[in-house]
């Protein structure tokens, strides 16, 4: 069986809030010096889910990314942890596409790849946090979609998913081909093995641009970004100090009581 995993490289979400900068004119984030982009957290989990299935059912896993040339490293890493093939759709302004355009390009790429039983995506990207692209792709391809999976398994010819809810989870089965978006509860992503890294450096990554896959972006966009800004949120914190920790703790309790909070 063939599994396709969509991954996205994003600016590091762990940039300290005090260092987070945007370009209001260009409406984009400006990562500080020396901070490299990383693969979006939930996409890493999607990759992990795919590899867990590969371990169990001998599937072939293809990693696909839409991004600028730097995004190739995300594919390289996916290959080193166990993906069999990699596809890089190169688009230097990929970060400026809206969810619909992104989903459109990925849909075309998936159609070109052709044979697949399961598509896995992260539940949302760690930059724009929209959480739409997975479901949009599924609708484009007219295949069933199950969102926010904490566990993905196969049952006969169906995919069996535990989908996260506020206070528990639902077990959902859908016929394949299907698309599943994956949440962090699936587990920590695995690390490359030595063999994995060596093998990955020998695998040739497929490179496409939007023309190669027939993804003409004219008229696909639906959303427009009007403004990007950093909200002011700092308050003045009163640090409670005392001779001992125990005294400070008691001070704090009294503070809260005085403010009628407790």
């Amino acid at each position: 069986m063939n599994i396709i995993v969509c991954i996205k490289q994003v600016p590091d979400p762990e940039i300290p809030p005090a260092k987070f900068r945007i370009d209001p004119e260009g409406k984009r984030v400006m990562p500080p010096e020396g901070v490299a982009p990383v693969t979006s957290v939930f996409d890493e989990r999607a990759m992990e889910a795919a590899l867990q299935l590969k371990d169990k059912y001998q599937a072939k896993v293809t990693a696909v990314t839409l991004g600028a040339s730097a995004a190739k490293s995300a594919i390289r890493h996916a290959l080193s942890i166990g993906a069999d093939e990699g596809v890089h759709i190169q688009h230097e302004a990929a970060g400026e596409l809206d969810s619909f355009e992104t989903a459109f390009v990925l849909t075309k790429a998936i159609e070109k790849i052709g044979d697949y039983s399961l598509i896995l995506c992260g539940r949302q990207a760690a930059d724009w946090d929209a959480g739409q692209v997975g479901s949009l792709i599924a609708e484009n391809l007219a295949i069933p979609v199950v969102t926010v999976a904490r566990k993905v398994d196969l049952k006969d010819s169906k995919v069996r998913v535990e989908s996260v809810m506020q206070d528990g989870y639902r077990v959902i089965e859908a016929p394949m081909p299907a698309l599943v978006t994956v949440s962090s509860e699936i587990g920590l992503p695995r690390l490359p093995t030595g063999m994995g890294i060596l093998k990955a450096s020998r695998i040739k990554i497929t490179n496409w641009n939007v023309q190669d896959i027939g993804a003409e972006l004219q008229g696909v966009r639906r959303s427009q970004l009007l403004r990007l800004y950093i909200p002011v949120r700092e308050t003045k914190c009163q640090i409670i100090e005392a001779d001992t920790v125990a005294e400070a703790a008691c001070e704090l309790a009294l503070c809260l009581r005085k403010a009628k909070i407790i």
Binding site: L228, R233, T235
Partner: protein, 333 residues
């Protein structure tokens, strides 16, 4: 050429009651409709929903569309997508609002494709631009580090999912007038591809996070599963709930249902006590609605101190026990 008019809100029901997000959606929906000079309608789905049409009107809806065929009694992604699409094709609203909830974020993107509309998820503010009359959708991005204001220039409907606890509902006014319109939507069983086999609810001991007035949250710095015991004790004494950051859940220190944050639960208690967590923006996204915040952390430079009101720079293991003792003492006074 279809004309798109009006604001439609998709209602949600939980445990036999209309969930708070619905009231909040009606509240913002009412304001948007008023600014546009158009109608606000509410879409209620399922047998459970029938008794609440009056309530939907009391909270601001002018028209209530009631869809109660049997396959729609309990939530199913395919069925609900089909049903809402159907209703929207009949009603042609210019704006469709859902909650950023299990149901809302599951349905919204699918509906956007089926209806040909544009979509912004997890909005914390919505408004009508006075000049263009377009809906301005404000949503947090980059974990909450920045806010983006988006518009859907041409695609219709303009859709948005709204973050719970960010909008205010209207005062319930039972004298408000409105129309209830029952609709028959044919859902063939062949339309339902993804079936729900079972629903597993995890036991929440004590008060639910989203409803608690006091929340005590632990981060990765708690260090062990047992470390959370003192937080549970603290929450017990204060009558609150215990939460955790995604990092703590990832490390297996607590079950994932306790996660407070951008992809976990959004809480807005009166008092939020943040213990041994650094204050990653993705976490703050879940608790920024708190009225008062207290921090206990060994690192005085942790970002969390910048958004809190009071703090102690100390290890929770040495500071929480005396804190707890003092609280117990104060509660007997």
């Amino acid at each position: 050429m279809t004309e798109f008019k009006g604001v439609m809100v998709c209602a949600e029901f939980v445990n036999g009651k209309m969930s708070p997000i619905t009231m909040e959606l009606l509240g913002i929906g009412r304001r948007l409709a008023d600014d546009l000079g158009e109608e606000l309608s509410a879409l209620l789905i399922g047998k459970e929903a029938v008794p609440f049409s009056r309530e939907a009107i009391a909270y601001g809806g002018e028209r209530v569309y009631l869809v109660s065929n049997s396959p729609l009694d309990s939530y199913n992604s395919d069925a609900y997508t089909e049903a809402i699409t159907n209703v929207c094709h009949q009603v042609n609203p210019s704006i469709v609002l859902l909650g950023q909830t299990d149901m809302g974020r599951d349905l919204a993107p699918r509906l956007a494709v089926r209806l040909g509309g544009g979509l912004a998820m997890d909005c914390i503010d919505l408004a009508i631009d006075p000049q263009t009359k377009l809906m301005l959708q404000t949503r947090p991005v980059f974990g909450g580090n920045a806010y983006a204001v988006m518009i859907t220039p041409t695609a219709r409907p303009q859709m948005a999912t709204v973050r719970p606890k960010t909008m205010s509902s209207l005062e319930r006014d039972d004298s408000r007038q409105g129309e209830v319109v029952p609709l028959e939507i044919g859902i063939e069983s062949s339309m339902i591809k993804a079936e729900i086999i079972e629903t597993v609810k995890e036991e929440v001991l004590g008060i639910k996070l989203e409803e608690a007035e006091i929340v005590v949250t632990g981060g990765r710095g708690i260090g062990s599963v047992e470390g959370f015991d003192i937080l549970r004790e603290l929450a017990g004494v204060l009558g609150g709930a215990v939460g955790a950051t995604r990092a703590a859940c990832d490390e297996g220190l607590t079950p994932a249902t306790m996660q407070v944050g951008q992809t976990g639960k959004i809480v807005s208690p009166n008092l939020y006590i943040a213990v041994a967590l650094s204050g990653a923006v993705q976490h703050l996204a879940g608790c920024s609605g708190s009225k008062h915040m207290v921090v206990i952390n060994t690192d005085p430079d942790a970002y969390i101190f910048k958004v809190a009101e009071w703090g102690i720079v100390a290890d929770y293991k040495t500071s929480l026990p005396p804190f707890l003792e003092k609280l117990k003492e104060l509660s007997t006074q």
